[in-house]
Symmetry: none
Subunit: 305 residues, 2 copies
Amino acid sequence: MNKLYDVIIIGAGPAGLTAGLYTSRNKLSTLLIEKGIIGGNINEAEKVDNYPGFPQGISGIELTTLMHEQAVLYGTEELNDEVITVKTQDKIRIVKTSRGDFSAKALIIAGGSERQKMNVPGEKEFTGKGVSYCATCDAPFFREKKVAIIGGGNAAIFEALHVAKFASKVNIIHRRNELRATAIVQDKAFAEPKIEFIWNTVVTEVEGEIFIKRLKLADVNTGEESSVEIDGVFVAIGLIPSTSYLKDIVALDNMGYIIVNDRMETNVPGIFAAGDIRSNSIRQVISAAGDGATAAFYANIFIEK
Amino acid sequence: MNKLYDVIIIGAGPAGLTAGLYTSRNKLSTLLIEKGIIGGNINEAEKVDNYPGFPQGISGIELTTLMHEQAVLYGTEELNDEVITVKTQDKIRIVKTSRGDFSAKALIIAGGSERQKMNVPGEKEFTGKGVSYCATCDAPFFREKKVAIIGGGNAAIFEALHVAKFASKVNIIHRRNELRATAIVQDKAFAEPKIEFIWNTVVTEVEGEIFIKRLKLADVNTGEESSVEIDGVFVAIGLIPSTSYLKDIVALDNMGYIIVNDRMETNVPGIFAAGDIRSNSIRQVISAAGDGATAAFYANIFIEK
């Protein structure tokens, strides 16, 4: 067993980095565990226009680099490793990783969520170059452009309606012949003249040069191939919260997100959640960062009690 | 009756400005009503070190100026006026001001909080004549003077450290025998030779002639009276949420803050709250801004339903 930290934070996206800034600035010894790259999903954003304080916009990676610099400035320690599980023993939270066990008085879970990928050729290559997973973030970049939305659930249709405020045309490409979105949301999509549906169809490849140019498609019933020329595509086929190891540890909602109150407290005293991983998160940098600060504040109070 | 806005936001601090950025960027017509100066209480902060993205720190007024620039960039309209009351009529929220009624489909209340007064004889009389509620504003007037700070929280100690750059001596007068301020802030105060603490003590009266001259004090345990000769006093004993006009409109907690859930929804559909004015707010710029984004997001969903 290693030393007892005041706080362990799982995940080094905007929520975890802000939590680390706040706990370490409050002189709480803090370990920040990240399995991948510092910064989280927002690193993929070429330009973030809606993080308050940067009216000219800032790239995702620049923003998280600044956040990281600020967190370590006050002494947040870091570990690059994957969390295997978490358990509570007496009043101590133990975080198991491949490099051993780490323990803390309070735990802030900020492990985010992963976008469900299409897993087709070109998708990764054109991410940030026309392939996006967040319409709220990127729709304004597609004014008077042709855009496709992949998916048929509420998130997909909300994104389509949002994108239609900017784009000249929106193709909704869905693998089934009907939407899963709620009726009222569907009605709005059907009433929007810019939106056109391509049913029973999946994307087989993303093509382009420097920037995306077209999607290759296949009919799921006949296998017939086609393509559609577009300037951008929003993939909205779901998110996966990184909570598989937490099922028996904290209460999750039916989508797998961690249930919290307005203090970012989970149902387990001393365990907090922040950012995209928590239920009802709006999945924005500013709200994730705000959550991180709130979780850190109430973790501090929990420890001092 | 003026035009029907999608969203009216009350208060142009970090919460309101971020809400405005989000609603207007989502093409919701937005009116932002502020009775005072754009930016809110944080304007008084000479340096903000804990807003993620600015590792070198930024002044409060610089930060809110950037936030304001960003909100109006997307079309947020502004009105400089005080809100008298709010009412709901059918599905419309009506905001009454001295310049008339303004109506919207959704309302985001982000009116923040105001500084608590001591409510002792002489306080009002000598306000602006030695009694101040803003060290950032007034500290330079007290070069080589003797000054007192009332309070023991972060705000009080920050003010004391700031005033110590100018004054010859700073007495921190606190009704308890320990500070509520965070450890790192406390350490700085204890290390500052100009600062001296008067514990377990309250101010009973402010005395002077044209200008303040002394504070009458009482020990909270023994009742023993004393006095301290000073040239100025900064009162930093807390905040009062600006919710007096909302008592019968939304549910408030026992401190007068607006009760919300993790979506920033109040108990009234279509009315949201964000920032310092909401219950359990940690009163930080980052969390207020995060709240503002969350309120804007769920206001958007509310309107579309």
